[in-house]
Amino acid sequence: MIPDGLKYTKTHEWVRVDGTEVTCGITDHAQSELGDVVFVELPEKGRVIKREEAFGTIESVKAVSDLYAPVGGTVSDTNRLLGETPETINKDPYGDGWLVKISISGQGELEHLMSAEEYGKLIGEG
């Protein structure tokens, strides 16, 4: 499941662009690899992050993984729902399981992202 309208990173994050604000999460492939997500640590609102910076962690029963910023900018919102129900990431990775919103510093931040087709090739689907 790789929605067409989104952009992707090789570290399995997705990005939905809406003007200068983007919404980020992890892909269906990533949540499936992780298994049951039980804890998510996200950056504070207002934090300035650089592209590819490790800005949070996501833990499943078995393992912990870093979250990498798909774009640089300022964190404008985080998904508070995940504090209580981190399993939302497993159930709806592209919807209610989103992680953070980032105000990007410029359109250049989007240049490095992959299309759905490119990401599909990376993970061997489609």
Partner: protein
């Protein structure tokens, strides 16, 4: 070093067909999960789950001096075993360090050791190198399949597929009979804290036994369970895992296994060192702790008391039953009392925890 390709259990094709996520564990291609670790864990706690545990090793000891020899290489007292009975035990080195933990079965004409997958060759070599008297030692690990059916409904499912009267098999006892028409050893044992059975059969008959139990389990929604939930289930009971919570550098007295260390029985390997350690007192102990916040402890994290390092985490996970982080770790005395406040260093950040009295999960069938 020669690259060895991983072994497959008799149930590998079953796991593939079910879409299990397969990982290499202790040299075996094993299912880590079928659908979800949490769902599989809950099946084991509240209903019934089936585990492929064929990676576990089997070593048989036969001959006129078998009992004496078994009692010499293991730390529990095998002389207490009646035919059909099983006991949790361990192998130690001369210095008291652990070679492995194991289950010892006394069967009609031999003893059966069930050992950890990662230690099969090491244990076999150790046992053979200490051979004494008239005994025959055989490694039958790779010709044996093993399944565990665990959970409150385990007996209901298993009774449908066996000619044995399961209600007559007590905890840590076994019987030889038929399961799905196949000759098998069935014991009321497990690694989950719940009621359940472990079933040993010749590897070639494994798939038939699997299919029979799956069929009988349909009515009970029996779920296949992977190694992921096997680990969370055992950890909630504070059952030690060799390689994590104990190894050749730890003794059974440090690992909380005094209850199987029969220092007063006849001579056994490691006895002297363990007697000495008991007299002097252990310097550290394996403790169980719960996190106060929502962090999850992982092996290798430092444990602090009042800012000073007193030990490290050996096992840690998210407990599906308690819905919080739990772990085991070695802590220097005197900081080992339950209630002691600990700091666990989680990727550089301090997190609060407290030592608790095990098991973490108090409602298991066995604890």
């Amino acid at each position: 070093m020669e690259e060895k390709s991983p072994r497959r259990t008799p149930f590998f094709e079953k796991h593939k067909a079910l879409g299990a996520r397969i990982v290499e564990f202790a040299g075996f291609e094993m299912p880590i999960q079928f659908t979800s670790i949490i769902e599989e864990h809950r099946a084991g706690r509240s209903n019934v789950g089936m585990f492929d545990v064929s990676h576990m090793g089997e070593v048989t000891i036969r001959g006129p001096d078998a009992l004496e020899f078994v009692n010499y290489v293991t730390i529990n007292d095998a002389a207490q075993l009646a035919v059909g009975q099983a006991q949790y035990s361990a192998l130690c080195y001369e210095d008291g360090g652990l070679v492995d933990d194991l289950v010892v079965y006394r069967l009609v004409d031999h003893f059966l050791f069930v050992v950890n997958a990662a230690n099969i060759e090491k244990d076999y070599d150790w046992i053979v190198s200490n051979r004494s008297g008239d005994v025959e030692i055989e490694n039958s690990s790779y010709e044996t399949g093993q399944l565990a059916v665990q959970g409150p409904n385990a007996e209901l499912v298993m009774q449908r597929v066996t000619n044995l009267k399961l209600s007559e098999i007590q905890f840590y006892w076994s019987a030889q009979g038929k399961v799905g028409g196949v000759e098998a050893l069935v014991s009321r044992t497990g690694y989950t804290g719940e009621d359940g059975f472990e079933i040993y059969m010749a590897a070639e008959h494994g798939p038939q036994v699997w299919d029979t139990i799956v069929e009988a389990g349909k009515e009970f929604s029996l779920k296949p369970v992977g190694l992921g939930a096997r680990d969370t289930l055992r950890l909630e009971m504070k059952y030690n895992l060799y390689g994590n919570d104990m190894d050749e550098t730890t003794t059974p007295l440090e690992a909380g296994l005094s209850w199987i260390t029969k220092l007063e029985k006849e001579e056994f390997i490691g006895q002297e060192a363990l007697k000495k350690q008991k007299e002097e007192g252990v310097k550290r102990r394996l403790i169980a702790f719960e996190m106060m916040g929502n962090e999850i402890p992982r092996p290798g994290f430092d444990i602090l008391v009042n800012g000073e390092k007193v030990g490290h985490v050996t096992s840690g996970t998210f407990s599906p039953s308690l819905e919080k982080g739990i772990g085991l770790g070695y802590v220097a005395r005197p900081h080992t009392k339950s209630g002691t406040e600990l700091t666990i260093v989680v990727r550089g950040e301090p997190a609060s925890a407290a030592i608790v009295k095990p098991p973490f999960y108090k409602h298991g069938t066995h604890h």
